[in-house]
Amino acid sequence: MTVHDMKHAASDSARLEAVGGRLSRVDGPAKITGAAHYAVEQQLEGLTHAVLVGATIAAGKVTAIDTRAAETAPGVLAVLTPDTITELKGASDWFGNPPGVQTYCPLVREVTFSGQHVAAVVAETFEQAVAAAALVKVWYDETPAIVDLSDGKAGDGIPIDAMTKEWGDAQAAFAEAPARICTAYNTPREFQAAMEPHGLIARWQGDELTIWEPSQWLDGMARTYAEWFSVPFENVRLVSPYIGGGFGSKALALAHSAVAAAAAKMLDRPVKLVLNRPQNFTSYGGRAATRQTVAIGADREGRIQSIVHRGVNETAVDGMWVEPLGSVTSIMYATPNFSSKQNVVRVNTVVPGAKRAPGENPSAFGIESAIDELAYELGLDPLEMRLINYAEQDPHAKKPWSTRQLREAFAAGADAFGWAKRSPQPRSMRDGHQLIGWGVAAGTYPVRRAHGEAVVKILADGSVEVESSSIDMGQGTYTILAQTAAETLGVPVEQVSVKLGDSHFARAGVTGGSRLAGVMTGAVYKAAGQALDELIGLALSDPRSPFQKLQANTLQVRDGRIASPRGEGPELSIAELMSALGRDHIEAKGDTLPANTTPEERYKNYTTIAMSIPHTEGDWSRHSWCAHFVEVRVDEDFGTVRVSRVVSALDSGRLYNPKLAESQWKGGIIMGIGQALLEEGIVDRRHGRIVNGNFADYMLPTNADIPDIQTISVGIPDPHSSALGGKGVGELAIVGIAPAIANAVFHATGKRVRDLPITLEKLI
C-alpha cells in the first residue's frame, strides 16, 4: 500500500541512490499530498466507534457504574465496564517474561491514576459515542494519592540494584578532592506529544484479528494481541503503513488497544478507537520525572577524581519503569572512582515510558550541567574541562571504544561556532536588553543492535520490491532501504519500491533505541545480495540465458543492466533477462541471524527485546557521540530565553543518507530545545491530574523558537557497530541539548537553573 513517487525523490541529483546519497524522503510527496493513509484512516464497512471513560480520581476504587443512560442513548451498541468486557488472558512483557496475572482487564475497578480507563462506549458514530460516554456515571471510593516525587508520602522508593555502577572508592575520593561540587538536577514529566494520536481499528474475521494501528513494533504488538485473545501469533495481522510520530510511545499494545479489540470481538464488527488529545497524556506514559544529585571531586587542574551520582525516577503504582540515570554519567568522563545508584518511586501515574533517548537524556542533563558548574568553580573553560577529562576508553566497561569521534566533534563544533571568541565571565556578553550566553555540552547514545529479516523480490519488469514488517515513523526507513537495495542490486532507486508496516511481511524487531537503520540495512543488504546471486546464477547457468554460452564466472548489474564485468558478450536489462529466463520473479529472504537460529529463537528475537545485543558485547564499547554549542539570549527584565544559534557536531558513524540523518539530528535538537525551555506536565497536586494535557497548554516549540541549526557529521564508518558501518542517529542529538542550553543560560545570566524547563519566572 505504498504510493511513493520514486522519480520525484530521486530527482535531486546524481548518485543519490547509493547508500550515503542525499536522497529525499521517498514517502514525502505522499504525505504532503494526503495520498498517504495512516492506520486509523482505513475505511471499513460497518465501522463502529468506541470512546473511553476515564477515572476522575487518581487513587481509589470504582464502587458503581451506572450505564443506563448511556445504553439507551441514540446509536449506542454497547457500554463496556470491568463487569461486561470480555475477559482477556495476561500477556507476557516486552522481555517475554510470562505474565504475573492469569487474566487481564483493560478497564479497571482499582484506580491508580487519573484518566485510567474505567468504561467504554461503542456506537454507530463517533459523535454518538462521545455523547453517550458523557452519560456514564461512575462512583468512587477515593483514597489519598501520591501525586509526584515531591509528595510527602512518596518516600525514598525502591533501590534498583541492577542500576548500581561502582569502581574505586568514590565517597572517600570525593571527600579528599580539593575541588568539589554537589548539586541536584530535576526534570519534569514530559510527553512524546506526537501529532498523530494513539488509536486503532480492530476487526475480527473468525479467529483472525486485523489491527490497523500506528506501531513502532508490529511483531511485538501482534504477539501481545495474540496472547490476550489466545489465538496463534499468525492469526494477528498488524498494519501500520505510516506513523505520525512515535518518539518511543508506540511500541506496545496498550489498555485502549485491548478495549478496542475486545469490543470488536464482542460486537463482531470493526471498532475504531482514537484517543482524544487529553487522553494522549494519560493513557500511556511519557518520560518519567527525575531527580539526580551529582557530586564531582577534582584536583585543582580539573582532573576528575571521583563522581558520586544518585538518581530517582517516578514509576507507577502498578507498573515498573526505570529511566537509567547513570547511563551517561558512567561513561562520559574518565574517573578513577565512581558510584552511581538509582531508586524508583511509585506515584499515582500511568506507567512512564520511553521518550527519545530514555535514560541518556536526563542522565546527560545531570552530568553535563555538573561538569559545567565545576569548570566555573575552577575557572576553567567548560570545553577545556571536558577535554581534560576525555575518556580514552569506556570507563565502566573498561573496553576500547569501537569509534569515538567526540574530540573531533568538540573541535569541529567549537570552530564552526567560534567558541574561542567567548568571553569567559558570566553576564559579560549583551546586546541591548538581551544577555547573551554560550554553552557547550556533550551527548551520547549506545549502539543498540538486534536482528531483522527482509524479502527482496526482483520482478519480471526489472523492478524490485523490498518487504519488511519494520516501520517508518518519519525517520526514513522507506528511503534508506530503497537505497540499500538499489546499491546492492545495481538498479536505479526509482525501480525499487519498499513495503513496510505489515506484520505479515518479513519480520523485524522494535523500532526503538535508534537501532532500525543499522539492523534493516543489514538485512536488506543480505536479502538483496542473495537475490542478485540467484539472478546471476540463473543468467550463467540457465540454458535459456543469453549469457550461458559466455562461460563467465560472474556478471555485473549496473543501472539495471546486466553484463559481464569485462563487457564481452551481450548486455541486457534485468527485464529482458527475466523474460529470457521465463521467470516472473526472483525472491530472496535474508536475515542477520546466525544460521543455526531455531524457530523459537527467531520468534523471541522479533517479538521481544530479550535478544538485543549489548553495546559492550565482545571487545568493544559502541556509542554515538555529539557535542552541542548553543547561544541563548535572555531578556534581562523578562527572563525569557531564546535559543539564537545551535552548532552540533555528531558522530553517528557512516551515514546511510546524510540528508535524513541531518533531519533526525535537527529533530532531536528541536525536541531538546522544547525540553530545556518549555515542556512540563503540570500536575494538580490535590487531584493528581495533569492539567495541561493539550497542545495549547503543553508547550512545544514553534518554528519561531527554533534558530538556524548547523549540524556537522564527524563520524567514520564503524565496522563493529553495524553491517554497513553506521551507528545510531535518531536519539543521539537530543542528548545534551538541555544542559547545553542551561549552561548557556548560566553564562548569560549568572543564574544556574537546575530544574527543567527554564521558564521565565526562574530567571526574573
Partner: protein, 327 residues
C-alpha cells in the same frame, strides 16, 4: 447525541432575534465556540451562524477613528495599512495573538468574547467546581495550578485571566464596542468577576456586536504592544502591555500616555495610576520604571502566578521606553 439547532442569520436583525432564544450562541469564526463545545463547556441549544452576514467585515480607518466590523478577520485587521500606521498597538496585538491559522479564521467580535484559558474552567468532567461555568459551585483553581491566573481584579469567586490581546489595546485607546442599540466603552464592556464570575461582559440576550470603534489620537499613533511569554509565538501572554505615548514639543515631556495590561488581570486592565504618575513628567528610565510599579496596585497572587507582579511593570516600562526611543 448532543444535538443543537443550526441557524444561518443573513442579517444583523435576524441574528439579534435568534440570539434572544434561550441557549442560543453566535458562531463567527468558531475558534472559541467549537473548542469549548469539544471540552463540554459550551452546550448550545441553537447555534446562530453570523459569518455570512454581509457588511460586517469592513475596516474603515481615518485619522479620526477606526471602525472595524465585528466579522473582520484578525489577520485582515492586523495587516491593514491604516491600522498599522494609525493604531500600531492594535496591529501588533493581533499579530502576536494565536497562530496564523487561527487569525485567518477568527473574527474581531469573537476575539473580544473569547473565554478564559483557566484549565479548570475548560475541564468540566474532572473539575465540576467552577463559578464561571456553574455559578455557586466554587473555584477549582484557587489552591491548584495558578501559574496563568490573574493577580489583578480577582475575587474570592474567580481568579481567571482574560486571555485576549486585542482588547488590551482597545482599552488603552478608549475604544467602544457597538451593540447596535447601544455603545459601550470596551473597558466597561468587560466585567471583573466579583461575586458573579459567570458575567464576563455587559451584553444582554439578543445583543450582537456589530463593530468596534477606536478614536484616533496622537497616543494611538505612537503606540506599541509588547507581549511576554515563554514560547516565542502561539502562546497567551504571561504579561503584556499596550502603550500609547504623546510627547510635548520638547521631545521628552509626556503629554499623554495610555497604559493597559494583559495576561495579569481578570479583564483587559487599564492602569490609570501609571498614566497619572507620568503625565507631565520627563521621560527617563527611572521615572518610567518607578511609575510602572503602580500598575500592580492591589495585586494579589495565588502562589505560582506571583512572578506576574514583578513581570507586569517591567513589560509596561519596556514598552514606554521603547516608544520614547522612537521619537
Amino acid at each position: 447525541m448532543r444535538d443543537f439547532a443550526y441557524l444561518r442569520a443573513d442579517s444583523v436583525e435576524a441574528a439579534r432575534n435568534a440570539a434572544a432564544l434561550p441557549g442560543a450562541m453566535l458562531l463567527a469564526g468558531g475558534t472559541t465556540l467549537v473548542d469549548l463545545a469539544k471540552c463540554g463547556v459550551a452546550e448550545p441549544a441553537t447555534v446562530i451562524d453570523i459569518s455570512h452576514i454581509e457588511g460586517l467585515s469592513a475596516i474603515n480607518v481615518t485619522s479620526d477613528r477606526a471602525v472595524i466590523g465585528a466579522l473582520a478577520k484578525m489577520s485582515h485587521v492586523a495587516d491593514n495599512a491604516e491600522v498599522k500606521s494609525l493604531f500600531p498597538a492594535v496591529s501588533e496585538a493581533l499579530w502576536q495573538a494565536a497562530s496564523a491559522q487561527l487569525r485567518n479564521m477568527a473574527t474581531i467580535g469573537g476575539n473580544l468574547m473569547q473565554r478564559t484559558r483557566c484549565p479548570y474552567f475548560r475541564d468540566p468532567q474532572n473539575f465540576p467546581a467552577c463559578n464561571k461555568r456553574a455559578p455557586g459551585s466554587g473555584c477549582s483553581a484557587i489552591g491548584g495550578v495558578t501559574r496563568g491566573h490573574a493577580v489583578l481584579g480577582t475575587s474570592e469567586a474567580c481568579i481567571a485571566t482574560y486571555p485576549g490581546d486585542l482588547a488590551v489595546a482597545l482599552v488603552a485607546f478608549d475604544a467602544e464596542v457597538d451593540l447596535g442599540e447601544r455603545k459601550l466603552r470596551v473597558e466597561d464592556f468587560f466585567l471583573a468577576p466579583g461575586a458573579t464570575a459567570e458575567q464576563e461582559h455587559d451584553i444582554r440576550p439578543g445583543e450582537v456586536i456589530t463593530a468596534i470603534e477606536i478614536p484616533g489620537s496622537a497616543a494611538a499613533r505612537r503606540s506599541t504592544y509588547i507581549k511576554v511569554r515563554d514560547r516565542q509565538s502561539y502562546e497567551f501572554a504571561a504579561a503584556s502591555a499596550a502603550i500609547g505615548l504623546e510627547l510635548e514639543g520638547d521631545g521628552r515631556t509626556i503629554r499623554d500616555i495610555r497604559v493597559a495590561l494583559g495576561g495579569v488581570a481578570t479583564k483587559p486592565w487599564r492602569a490609570r495610576a501609571v498614566e497619572d504618575a507620568l503625565k507631565g513628567k520627563a521621560l527617563d528610565e527611572n521615572t518610567v520604571r518607578k511609575a510602572s510599579e503602580l500598575a500592580m496596585e492591589g495585586a494579589v497572587d495565588h502562589g505560582a502566578n506571583h512572578y506576574k507582579i514583578a513581570l507586569g511593570p517591567r513589560v509596561v516600562a519596556r514598552a514606554i521606553l521603547k516608544l520614547g526611543e522612537t521619537a
